[in-house]
C-alpha cells in the first residue's frame, strides 16, 4: 500500500517535471518565434542554454521549480495587464500595488525584513513554526524579486525598443540579483541540511543589500531604467554578471555561516545552532560552489574584455580585485582540501573573504576608477 502510494507520487513528480520543462521550452520557443529578428545566434544559444540550466535546477530542487512556475505565471499576468503601455503601472490596481516592477521589488524588501525578524524570533524561542514561516517569507521575497526583475525587463522595452535590456546593468539591479541568488542558495542548503536556524545570520547580509536598495531608491532616485552604454551592449552580460553574483552570493553565505560557526564555538547560542561539523561543511560547500562560478565568471569576463576593450586582461582595478578575491578563495580551498585545515581559522578567513569580496564588488566602484565604471555610487 505504502509502496504503491510512493510510486504514484513519484509518477506525479515526473509529470510535474515534464510540465515544467514544457513550460520553459514553450516559453523559449515562443520568444524565438516572436523575437528572433532581434536576436543573434549567441542570444539564441543563451536562451536555450538557460532553458537547460533552469530545468536542471528545477529537477534537482523541487522548491525552486515551484517558485519558478509562480514567477513565470505571475510575470506573464503582469505583462498582460500592461497592454503595452508603461503608464498602466500607475493605472491598473494590481500593477500599482503588487506586481509592477517597483512594487514587486518593494514587496521583496518587505518580506526580506520580515524574514530576518522572524528567523531571529524562531531561533531565540526555539520555535519551529516561526522558522517555517520565516522560511516561506524568504521564498515569497524571492518570488517577488524575480517577478520584479522580469517585469522590469519588460518595462525597459516599453520605455523604448532601443533602451530595453536585461535588468542586471547597474548597481540597483545587481543588488536585487544579489539578494535573490543569496536567498536561493540559502534556501537550498536549508532544505538539504534540514536546518532553519541559519536564516537569522544569512538574512543579515541580504538585509544589508535591501538597505542599499532602499537608499538607492529613495535618496538617490537611481532606480530608473537607464539605456546601456555601448560597452555593455553584448550578450556576454547575460552570462558574466549572473555567474559573478552566484560567486558573490555564495561567498556571502559562507561568511554568514562562519559568523554562526564562530559564535557557536564561543559557546553562545550553541544549543540553538546546528553542529559545528555541519556548519563547517556548509561553509566549505558554499565557498566551493562560489569559487567555481567566480572562476567561470572571471574567465568569461576576460573573453568579453578581449572583445570590448581589446585585451583579455588589462589590470583594470576591477579585474585586479577579482584576481585578489580569486587568489584568496583559491588559497582557502587549497588549505582546506590539500592541507586538511579545519576549524575557526577557516571561518575567520571566510569572514575576511567577505570583506575582500565586498571591496571588489563595491569599494572598487567607490574609490578607484577604471573601465568597470558602470555602477558608480
Amino acid at each position: 500500500m505504502f509502496n504503491k502510494l510512493f510510486k504514484s507520487s513519484k509518477a506525479t513528480f515526473q509529470t510535474f517535471n515534464v510540465l515544467y520543462l514544457v513550460l520553459l521550452l514553450g516559453g523559449a520557443l515562443y520568444a524565438l518565434k516572436k523575437f528572433h529578428n532581434y536576436m543573434d545566434i549567441y542570444e539564441e544559444v543563451i536562451l536555450f542554454g538557460s532553458v537547460g540550466f533552469f530545468s536542471w535546477l528545477g529537477w534537482s530542487w523541487n522548491h525552486f521549480k515551484k517558485i519558478m512556475i509562480l514567477v513565470f505565471v505571475t510575470s506573464l499576468c503582469a505583462i498582460q495587464l500592461y497592454q503595452g503601455a508603461l503608464n498602466n503601472n500607475e493605472q491598473v490596481f494590481l500593477l500599482k500595488y503588487l506586481i509592477s516592477s517597483q512594487s514587486a521589488i518593494m514587496w521583496m524588501n518587505v518580506f526580506f525584513v520580515l524574514s530576518l525578524l522572524l528567523y531571529w524570533l524562531g531561533l531565540l524561542k526555539e520555535n519551529n513554526l516561526i522558522d517555517d514561516i520565516a522560511s516561506s517569507f524568504t521564498s515569497v521575497a524571492v518570488l517577488f524579486g524575480f517577478i520584479g526583475l522580469l517585469v522590469r525587463w519588460y518595462e525597459s522595452y516599453l520605455i523604448g525598443l532601443d533602451v530595453g535590456h536585461i535588468p542586471i546593468s547597474n548597481l540597483y539591479e545587481v543588488f536585487i540579483l544579489f539578494c535573490l541568488i543569496t536567498s536561493l542558495l540559502y534556501l537550498f542548503y536549508e532544505e538539504k541540511f534540514n536546518t532553519k536556524k541559519l536564516g537569522a545570520f544569512v538574512l543579515i547580509v541580504i538585509n544589508a543589500a535591501v538597505g542599499f536598495i532602499l537608499w538607492y531608491t529613495f535618496d538617490r532616485h537611481a532606480d530608473g531604467v537607464q539605456p546601456l552604454v555601448p560597452a555593455l551592449q553584448s550578450y556576454w552580460m547575460k552570462i558574466h554578471v549572473p555567474a559573478n553574483f552566484i560567486g558573490y552570493g555564495s561567498f556571502s553565505l559562507a561568511a554568514m555561516v562562519s559568523v554562526a560557526y564562530l559564535i557557536s564555538s564561543k559557546k553562545i547560542l550553541t544549543s540553538y545552532l546546528p553542529k559545528s561539523a555541519v556548519l563547517d561543511d556548509l561553509i566549505y560547500k558554499s565557498i566551493a560552489i562560489g569559487f567555481i562560478f567566480f572562476t567561470i565568471a572571471t574567465i568569461l569576463g576576460a573573453i568579453w574584455a578581449a572583445e570590448a576593450w581589446g585585451g583579455y586582461w588589462s589590470w583594470d582595478p576591477k579585474e585586479t580585485w577579482a584576481l585578489i578575491v580569486w587568489l584568496n578563495y583559491a588559497a582557502w580551498l587549497h588549505y582546506r582540501i590539500v592541507k586538511g585545515l579545519r576549524g575557526s581559522i577557516l571561518a575567520w578567513w571566510a569572514l575576511i573573504g567577505l570583506v575582500v569580496t565586498t571591496f571588489a564588488f563595491l569599494g572598487v566602484n567607490m574609490f578607484l576608477s577604471g573601465l568597470h565604471s558602470y555602477g558608480q555610487l
Partner: protein, 628 residues
C-alpha cells in the same frame, strides 16, 4: 610550498598597489603628486607600471616555476594511484582503516549480488582470489578527482605563460641591452628613429591609432612610461566615416567606424565597419573601436568685442590650430569641439539630462605665454526659467570653470545684449538719459543747482559702471564714503543705475515712455550682472560660433596577442580541474570475503568529511542488507 604562498601574497599586495595608484599616467601628474624626490624613487621601483615591472614579472616567473615543479613532483604518484588497483592489502591492514566494518557471517556470501550493487553505484571493480580461498574485491570511483589537481595546476601555468607571451618581456630585454629605446619627443611617426620602432614581425603588441575622417595610416603608437614606440603595421587603415548614434535622452548609443584596409598583398581593399564589442581581426591583428576625438573641425567664429564695438571681427579656425590676433597680442588655440553636450541643467531632482548643442573648448594665450581656458556653448540654454549664453573660463586645469551668463533675448539671440552693452558704454546716450532723469526728478523744486549736480552724479555713476560694472561702483563706495553712510549710498546708487539703464534700454529698443514688462526688467538685471562679470572674463571678446564643419577622428586600438589561445586553453583546464577537485568524491573500497565466512569492508578517501561519513553509513547498510 610556503615559498609559493608567500609569492602569491606578495603578488596580491603588488596588485593592490597597482589599483590604488593610477597606472600609466603622464609623468607630470606623478611629479605633481609626489614631488621630485619621491617621483624618482617610485619610478625606479616601477610603481607607475607595476604589472610590467621587472620584479612583478619575476614573481610571476617564480610562481610558474614552482607550480611546474609541484606538477612534476606529484604527477607520477597521482597517475599511479589513478591507474592501479591496490590489491595487495591483507586482512590486518584492512582492519587498520579508520572506516572499516567486520561482518561475522556463517553463510556463504553472494558475491555476484555485491558486485552488482557496486556496479550500480558506479564503482570500478577488480576481483582477486587469494590462495587461501578468500576473495578480495577492490573498487574505486571518483578517481578523476586526482586528475583535478594536475589540471588546475597545469591551467595556472598555461595561463601565466600565455600572459607572459603577450607581455612585453622581449621588449624589456631589448631595452636593457640597448637595442630599443622609448621615444619621448613629440615627433611625426615617419621621423621616429629605428631604435624606437617595432617592426611588422613583432609578435605581440597593444597599440593605439587615431585617424581623422578621410585620413589613413599604417603605423600605431604604443604608449610606454613617459614616451612611446611606433608599431609598423603590415597594412594601411583608412577611416571613411565615424558615427556616434544617440538614444533619445542624448546618451551615446553606439560608436562606429567605417574602415578600409589596404594590404599590398591583396588586389582589393577590405571594407569593414567596427564598433564597440564588434572588433575586426585581420592578419592576427584585432582592430577595436576604443575612443574618439575631434579630427580638426572647421569653425567660423565672430569675436564680438566686449569693450569697443568697432573691434568685432570674424575669424576662421580649426581644432588643434591657432589664430593670432596681432592687434590684441593674443592667440586663440582651439582644443576641442563637441557637437552634443548632454547636461543635467537642474541639480539632483528628476529633471532629465538634455542635449544643449555644440560647444568649443579653446585657450587664449597672451604674449607672455600665459593662457586661460574657455568653454563656450553655441546656443543659449534654459536655466531657472530664463535663457542664457554660457561661457566658462578657468586659469588652471585644476580649477572648475567660472561661468559668464549672458541673457538671451526673446528671439533666443545675443544681439539685444550686445546692443544694450554698447549703449551702456555710449557717453552721449548716458548724458541724454541723465538730463532726462534730472528734469523729471527736479521738476518739483526747480532748483537748477540741485538738478545739475544730480545730472552730473548720474553721469559719473553710469560712466563708472560702464568702466567696470558693479565691482567698480563698490570699490568707489569703499574709497569715498564713510562707513555709516555706505549702505544708504549703495541703495541709492543701485536705484539710479536701475532707472538709468532702463532708460538706456528703452532708448535703444525704441520703447520710449513705455512701462517695461516683467521679462524685460529681469533681462535688464541679468544683462547688468553679465556686464559686470565681463570684466573678470579675461579676454575682451565674446566668442560666438557662427557655423562649423565637423570632422571627427576615431581612436582605434590594435592588438596582436598570440597568448590569448593559451590563456583560454589554460582557463578551460583550470575550470575542469576545479570541477573535478570539488565535485568528484574519491572513494576506495576493499571487501574481503573470507572463505571461512564473514566479510571485512574498508572504505577510504583522500578527504574525510560529512559526505564521506554518509557514504560509509549507506554502504554499510546496503552491504549488510545483501549479506543477511
Amino acid at each position: 610550498m610556503s615559498f609559493a604562498v608567500s609569492m602569491l601574497v606578495f603578488l596580491g599586495i603588488a596588485s593592490i598597489i597597482g589599483t590604488i595608484l593610477k597606472q600609466n599616467e603622464p609623468y607630470e601628474n606623478y611629479i605633481i603628486k609626489f614631488g621630485q624626490f619621491w617621483f624618482g624613487f617610485f619610478e625606479k621601483i616601477g610603481l607607475y607600471d607595476v604589472y610590467h615591472s621587472i620584479w612583478f614579472l619575476t614573481i610571476l616567473l617564480f610562481l610558474v616555476l614552482s607550480t611546474t615543479l609541484c606538477i612534476i613532483k606529484n604527477t607520477p604518484t597521482i597517475l599511479k594511484d589513478f591507474l592501479v588497483f591496490k590489491d595487495s592489502l591483507e586482512e590486518k591492514s584492512l582492519l587498520s582503516f579508520s572506516h572499516h566494518l567486520v561482518i561475522k557471517n556463517k553463510k556463504s556470501v553472494n558475491t555476484s549480488k555485491i558486485l552488482y550493487y557496486l556496479k550500480e553505484a558506479k564503482f570500478k571493480i577488480k576481483e582477486k582470489s587469494k590462495e587461501n580461498g578468500d576473495v578480495l574485491i577492490i573498487a574505486k570511483k571518483g578517481n578523476y578527482q586526482r586528475l583535478g589537481y594536475i589540471l588546475t595546476h597545469i591551467g595556472v601555468v598555461v595561463i601565466c605563460l600565455g600572459g607572459l607571451l603577450d607581455g612585453n618581456l622581449i621588449f624589456k630585454a631589448q631595452e636593457i641591452f640597448g637595442y630599443k629605446k622609448i621615444e619621448t619627443l613629440d615627433l611625426p611617426a615617419s621621423k621616429v628613429p629605428e631604435v624606437s620602432r617595432l617592426g611588422i614581425s613583432n609578435t605581440s603588441f597593444r597599440a593605439n591609432m587615431t585617424l581623422a575622417e578621410g585620413s589613413s595610416d599604417n603605423v600605431a603608437f604604443v604608449r610606454m612610461k613617459d614616451g612611446y614606440l611606433v608599431q609598423d603595421l603590415p597594412f594601411k587603415i583608412t577611416l571613411k566615416d565615424f558615427r556616434i548614434n544617440h538614444y533619445s535622452t542624448g546618451m551615446p548609443k553606439s560608436f562606429e567606424s567605417d574602415l578600409i584596409i589596404s594590404d599590398p598583398e591583396l588586389s582589393q581593399d577590405i571594407t569593414k565597419t567596427i564598433s564597440v564589442n564588434h572588433p575586426f581581426t585581420y592578419k592576427g591583428i584585432a582592430i577595436y573601436q576604443s575612443d574618439f576625438q575631434d579630427g580638426g573641425t572647421r569653425l567660423n567664429i565672430k569675436l564680438r568685442s566686449l569693450l569697443n564695438p568697432g573691434n568685432s571681427q570674424k575669424i576662421e579656425g580649426k581644432i588643434f590650430d591657432k589664430v593670432k590676433l596681432d592687434k590684441d597680442q593674443i592667440t586663440y588655440e582651439f582644443n576641442d569641439f563637441k557637437k552634443f553636450n548632454v547636461l543635467h541643467l537642474k541639480e539632483g531632482e528628476k529633471e532629465k539630462p538634455r542635449n544643449v548643442g555644440p560647444s568649443v573648448t579653446y585657450k587664449v594665450r597672451n604674449n607672455a605665454g600665459q593662457a586661460r581656458e574657455y568653454l563656450t556653448y553655441q546656443y543659449a540654454m534654459p536655466i531657472d526659467g530664463r535663457s542664457f549664453f554660457i561661457s566658462g573660463m578657468r586659469e588652471t586645469p585644476q580649477e572648475e570653470f567660472k561661468y559668464l551668463k549672458i541673457p538671451a533675448d526673446a528671439k533666443g539671440s545675443i544681439e539685444e545684449f550686445m546692443l544694450f552693452k554698447d549703449a551702456l558704454q555710449n557717453k552721449t546716450l548716458i548724458e541724454a538719459v541723465a538730463k532726462k532723469m534730472a528734469n523729471q526728478s527736479a521738476s518739483e523744486d526747480k532748483n537748477n543747482e540741485v538738478k545739475e549736480s544730480f545730472e552730473k552724479s548720474v553721469i559719473k555713476l553710469m560712466i563708472l559702471f560702464a568702466q567696470g560694472g558693479f565691482s567698480k561702483i563698490a570699490e568707489n563706495v569703499d574709497k569715498n564714503i564713510p562707513d555709516n553712510e555706505k549702505q544708504k549710498a549703495v541703495q541709492t546708487y543701485l536705484k539710479i543705475i536701475d532707472i538709468a539703464s532702463s532708460e538706456i534700454y528703452k532708448d535703444r529698443l525704441n520703447l520710449p515712455n513705455k512701462e517695461l514688462n516683467q521679462s524685460r526688467i529681469i533681462f535688464i538685471q541679468d544683462a547688468l550682472n553679465a556686464y559686470s562679470d565681463m570684466f573678470f572674463y579675461g579676454v575682451p571678446y565674446y566668442f560666438e560660433l557662427i557655423s562649423y564643419e565637423q570632422k571627427e577622428a576615431s581612436g582605434l586600438q590594435l592588438t596582436k596577442s598570440p597568448g590569448q589561445f593559451w590563456v583560454y586553453l589554460g582557463s578551460l583546464s583550470l575550470v575542469l580541474g576545479i570541477f573535478s577537485m570539488i565535485y568528484l568524491h574519491e572513494r576506495k573500497l576493499w571487501l574481503l570475503i573470507k572463505a571461512k565466512g564473514g566479510v571485512i569492508l574498508a572504505l577510504s578517501s583522500n578527504r574525510k568529511n560529512i559526505d564521506f561519513e554518509n557514504d560509509f553509513r549507506k554502504l554499510i547498510q546496503e552491504i549488510k542488507k545483501i549479506i543477511h
